[in-house]
């Protein structure tokens, strides 16, 4: 209705009697319109401003990453040479070689993927079920439990981290294995599990109850209704929670350090690339002292090696992100995080 009204109005103004002056003015108008834009279309000036802003801000956003990559490819001489601010005079992969050795990259990568993938799987399965339980059923005490859920989401985890560590220590499970991660994830207490449950809760709430009730009337049990109706309808939420859980598990350092134990090293147990990056300086010093006889003193740690380590630590996730970018970005609004 609004559209037709608008068209009427437009026609009304266009139908003003014409004259020679109006032709000239029309031409002027046309250029003015092109430059400044009209109500429904942006002009050239407006577009330029928007694109310029976007490009400048995009550059600011990727600047640190570009800087890291460019630094990591520099040789020692380039680092000291202020004229080679951005483009290395000669590309060297030497920094990457030392960083790979320092972090024990391939080994750590494998362990990291294993840890993140298994925990994510457990987290998705449990959070979906819990979210469904909250969304689909009414039961006494539901409000209280929801309150606890939201409290757990809002409060920073530092108060509970230590007691949780002690629980696992008493169970003798802080031994550099996946056990603490798996147990917390299976009990809906993994990294950001609460947020995952809330996402699933929001999503399952959107599935029409009548659909599930119809299925139940047709003889499907509660479990069957969940797996055959709710789950297929919640694909978008499953995608978003899986992707983000993986990223969260990958990026977490504080709790990972707690659960793997203070003394855990990559020789005896699991590790993550972020932990390796955290300990980069020390690892490098250790590695350096063992190589010392075979390398020259120019191999002492420098910014380029550190940056190579950082790039290596974020590279797997970057690739993961670029491959699945559509799922990442679009799933966020499809999963109804926007408070629908």
């Amino acid at each position: 209705m609004l559209l037709t009204e608008m068209k009427l109005k437009e026609n009304g103004t266009a139908a003003v009697p014409a004259g020679r002056r109006i032709v000239r003015e029309n031409r002027k108008e046309k250029w003015k319109k092109r430059l400044l834009g009209s109500a429904d279309k942006r002009g050239w000036i407006g577009s330029t401003v928007v694109y310029l802003l976007l490009i400048v801000i995009s550059f600011i956003f990727v600047y640190p990453v570009l800087y890291m990559i460019s630094r990591s490819l520099m040789s020692r001489n380039d680092l000291l040479d202020s004229s080679a601010m951005w483009i290395p005079s000669s590309l060297t992969l030497h920094n990457y070689e030392s960083a790979i050795l320092t972090m024990d990259f391939w080994n750590s990568l494998l362990k990291n993927v294993y840890l993140a993938a298994v925990s994510t799987l457990a987290q998705v399965i449990i959070c979906s079920a819990v979210g469904y339980g909250f969304a689909r059923y009414n039961f006494p005490g539901k409000k209280i439990w929801m309150g606890v859920l939201i409290l757990a989401f809002l409060l920073p985890g530092q108060t509970t981290a230590l007691p949780n560590y002690l629980v696992f220590q008493n169970l003798k499970m802080i031994d550099g294995t996946i056990k603490p991660f798996l147990i917390t994830a299976l009990l809906g207490q993994g990294f950001k599990s609460t947020l995952c449950i809330l996402i699933f809760y929001n999503f399952h709430k959107q599935t029409p109850q009548s659909l599930i009730e119809a299925a139940e009337i047709d003889g499907a049990g509660h479990i069957k209704a969940y797996f055959q109706i709710a789950i297929p309808l919640a694909t978008a939420a499953i995608v978003v929670v899986t992707l983000f859980s993986f990223v969260w598990y990958w990026n977490e350092t504080y709790l990972v350090r707690n659960y793997l134990g203070y003394g855990s090293t990559r020789a005896t147990g699991l590790t993550t690339l972020m932990l390796e990056l955290n300990a980069f300086e020390d690892s490098y010093a250790n590695a350096y002292s063992t190589w010392a006889s075979s390398v020259t003193s120019t191999d002492r740690i420098n910014d380029a090696v550190r940056m190579a380590g950082t790039v290596l630590a974020i590279a797997p996730l970057m690739i993961f992100y670029f491959v699945l970018q559509r799922q990442f970005v679009e799933s966020v609004d499809r999963a109804g995080i926007t408070g629908e």
Binding site: S58, M68, V130, E213, T338
Partner: protein, 311 residues
């Protein structure tokens, strides 16, 4: 519809069907209830006990009552620790300064992305990238390299003007400028949430406004902003929570190191984390009270949403 059916059941008596519903509800959330009792509720109680006792570690954990009043640990945090009070104050002020920057920035980016532009996908890709890679160790490396700030000359000039301010205000503002990129890096999710919200505002509303002669400026204040107001609250809370739990947070590092320091120990660390929790909770409450929608407005908004769904 389903609600009506349930109400009828409630009125009669507890039928076997409702009882079964309750049971199944608990079956689905059972794992979480077990988890939350052990790892959240019990953990909270235990950490409170730690904070109000002296913890001795010999095989197991032994709690001793405190000699100098029950708040001894808390007092110690503020009187003997050099770092913690200043770090906490910096964190609080920093958070209050960063929050509007992040919210305004992500709203502007979302508005830009929502207008008719080419390569929207590419820009979205770039703005979302930090969500994936911004982690504690990476941020620390970047700060160490000095790439966290926007390289600009005016920064020094601006800070020069602020030099006269007292230290505790100057410090957070200085931090804000010197790690501006990192702060903006925290706005990936917020941009997407705003963008999704903006896309749901019906075009007809804008069309109607332009016909009535509203300028772009007026449209923004009268239509766009009210439509995303609930999202501003959501985003603010999300921002506070992520900043407070994020890995590049100095306080978390302090708590972690205190836990394993012989002179400080568990009870001291727990007192610290409870103070920290209280500060975060207060900030959350303030944010919520400032940004929550007034009830009458909310009714209008809900009505609007219903209308939108009807369209």
């Amino acid at each position: 519809m389903s609600k009506k059916v349930k109400n009828i059941h409630d009125k009669k008596h507890l039928t076997r069907r409702t009882l079964r519903e309750w049971g199944w509800g608990y079956v689905f959330i059972a794992p979480w209830i077990v988890g939350v009792c052990i790892f959240f509720l019990y953990a909270m109680i235990q950490s409170l006990q730690f904070a109000f006792h002296r913890v001795e570690l010999s095989g197991g954990v032994i709690l001793h009552p405190l000699e100098n009043g029950i708040f001894e640990n808390f007092v110690k945090v503020f009187t003997t620790d050099v770092n913690f009070p200043t770090t906490l104050a910096n964190f609080g002020i920093g958070l209050v300064l960063q929050l509007p920057v992040i919210i305004a920035f992500s709203l502007i980016i979302a508005l830009l992305l929502n207008s008719k532009i080419r390569c929207r996908g590419l820009f979205r890709l770039i703005f979302f990238l930090p969500v994936i890679i911004a982690t504690g160790p990476v941020m620390n490396q970047m700060t160490a390299q000095g790439v966290a700030s926007v390289p600009m000359v005016s920064q020094n000039a601006m800070l020069g003007m602020l030099e006269g301010l007292p230290q505790f205000i100057y410090e957070p503002i200085n931090n804000l400028f010197s790690s501006l990129i990192l702060i903006l890096w925290n706005s990936g999710i917020q941009i997407l949430i705003f963008l999704a919200g903006l896309q749901k505002v019906p075009r007809a509303m804008y069309e109607a406004a332009t016909i009535d002669g509203a300028s772009g400026w007026e449209t923004f204040w009268k239509i766009t902003l009210p439509s995303v107001k609930s999202l501003i609250l959501l985003n603010s809370i999300y921002t506070v929570v992520t900043l407070a739990t994020g890995g590049s947070n100095e306080i978390i590092e302090l708590i972690y190191s205190a836990t394993y320091t012989a002179t400080q120990g568990y009870s001291y660390a727990m007192a610290m984390s409870w103070i920290y929790t209280a500060v975060v909770a207060v900030i959350l409450v303030i944010v919520f009270l400032l940004l929550k929608e007034k009830s009458d407005r909310k009714v209008v908004y809900e009505q609007k949403r219903v209308d939108m769904k009807g369209v």
